[in-house]
Symmetry: C2
Subunit: 211 residues, 2 copies
Amino acid sequence: MAENKRTETTEGRRERKRRQTRERIEQAAMTLFLQRGFDATTIEDITEAADVSKRSFFDYFPSKEEVVFAWQDSFADRLMAAIAARPAPESSVVTVEAAITATVIASVDEPGLALGELIHRTPVLKARDQLKYAKLEQKLAEALLLRKGGDPLERPRMRVLAAIVIGALRVGAELWQQRPPSTSPQDFAREIFTDLWKMLAEFGDEAKTRR
Amino acid sequence: MAENKRTETTEGRRERKRRQTRERIEQAAMTLFLQRGFDATTIEDITEAADVSKRSFFDYFPSKEEVVFAWQDSFADRLMAAIAARPAPESSVVTVEAAITATVIASVDEPGLALGELIHRTPVLKARDQLKYAKLEQKLAEALLLRKGGDPLERPRMRVLAAIVIGALRVGAELWQQRPPSTSPQDFAREIFTDLWKMLAEFGDEAKTRR
DNA sequence: TACAATGTTGCATTGAATGCAAAAATGCAA
DNA sequence: TTGCATTTTTGCATTCAATGCAACATTGTA
């Protein structure tokens, strides 16, 4: 079922066909989702369009939702890699900004970014989308903590930093949806982060004199 | 179906029975969920335990998940009220800290807080839980913006502040789960916020010298 | 009591998801 | 090429959530 590469040969007919079928299902599903909406599309619609049996769908994806989010898994992985690639003595703040900016820019014209609107208007998907951010946040916190040598006292700090940054990413993603079409992702990312750190400093100052 | 109070009399037998039935379903559902887990509990199990027909379940709750989250709606409302109750000239930072602390303390020993673990170990519920935070965040941003006279330029700032604070609330809620049992909610909340503002200031400072 | 409104139930239906076993396609070795 | 083991695909049956509808029951009120 999964890739069992006991003989590490080049991709044979089996692997290739399997990959093709997967892509066909994904493509058919996306087209239909965007056309008629997520709920109004049945699995049978999809498998018919992709010319496979209804049962086979679940051999490729565990659920209807997964088709929408399958591609997103790679984002988290790439972000983790980007974090790990930063020089060790660098401050956490610089690290996240650099890593996120690089990963977002590298992912910006991938399939699935057009899905924002679909996700937004489909409650089940929206919930699922939030879960994705939660996972991302957790992974980010772990990656950041690792850079601190895993010091347990740093854990809450890194959790909060991760929450803040992913929160900003989430808000940023929404603002991006309604950007003027001319904006470059580089400028946009830089601007978001500049604003974020400025706000953090301001809120921090405000709080110092709060009582 | 819904409360149609054309004659504003005191709660008659109808309303009372309906409320009682709702509570019975809720009670039965919660007990079973905690006993056997969410997925392993069917609607029929619940309705049987609550002694109503399977069909009636959907007359009280739109879905299985809703039973778990029904009680939570009131939290957001109370938080909004707490925000609105703060004096107008106060800084946003002080406002959120005061309002959230008050609301959390007032809600801390309500039903449903024991559900944290159940939600945590049930993927569907976890997704739904995240959605709840997202909604809360949105409402908080709106409430904060309203205090700024609705100035559109403040919108992104308030969105980010809301994201940060709700992020902290989320992390705080998780830390609370594994607190030493002696901690008072007051002290806990104060500590969380103190840490949060301190971190914000630090991250802000770090960022100032980042290039 | 009679009547209207509201609540409850049973029944049928759709659609997602899963298990299982038969059938088909593929890779490989003789 | 043929035969055989492995993997993939499919059909079929089943469970469960969710919805619509119409019959039936309960309640409030004239």
